[in-house]
């Protein structure tokens, strides 16, 4: 049986996964890999309303994935941690593996 401490760790890990577990938030993370951006440009990139994007951004801030700074009227967001792109490419590896398995399967069918 899992200890209290390990369960707490699982909860914190789940928080991080949930904070990235939405198509718009993934897209935001991909966009910010190439450098910091304002809400305006992020909203344009992901193709959603600004108020909605603003909420997604605050979810990511709360999870410690992003940080922001003000620049005049704009608020500029950036990835807080260099490991997030690594992390995303890990997800991609899982996807690639699934595609590979599917191909193997389709050859048999």
């Amino acid at each position: 049986m899992l200890s209290k401490d390990k369960m707490m760790l699982c909860e914190r890990q789940a928080d991080i996964l949930q904070a990235l577990g939405h198509p718009i938030r993934i897209a935001i993370a991909h966009f910010l890999k190439d450098g910091e951006q304002c809400v305006c440009d992020i909203a344009e990139f992901v193709g959603s309303e600004r108020s909605n994007v603003s909420k997604h951004l605050s979810i990511m801030i709360n999870a410690g994935l992003l940080e922001s700074r003000k620049d005049g009227l704009n608020v500029i967001y950036r990835l807080k941690c260099r490991c997030i792109p690594d992390f995303l490419s890990c997800v991609t590896d899982v996807l690639k593996q699934q595609v590979k398995d599917n191909k193997k399967l389709s050859r048999v069918l």
Copy 2:
């Protein structure tokens, strides 16, 4: 603006993250790192009802994270992809980084 294809990719990545984005499902993944297990033992390990665990397992199966086989009365689950442990350690890296940043901050306060 994000292309349709890229958006689809983000959706598939989000599916995977969501399928792992729950404390119980993370705990299951950790447990299965060390080898396949039946529902019974998984439920005992994560400390939740069997029917609930069964539903979590089917979420992970649908996301392509796990596979299962029958063995008499039991159903044995295992990780489908060796990259899932790597993936989990990536989440841990993000957490570690956050802890490190917090320490730095607390020294300043």
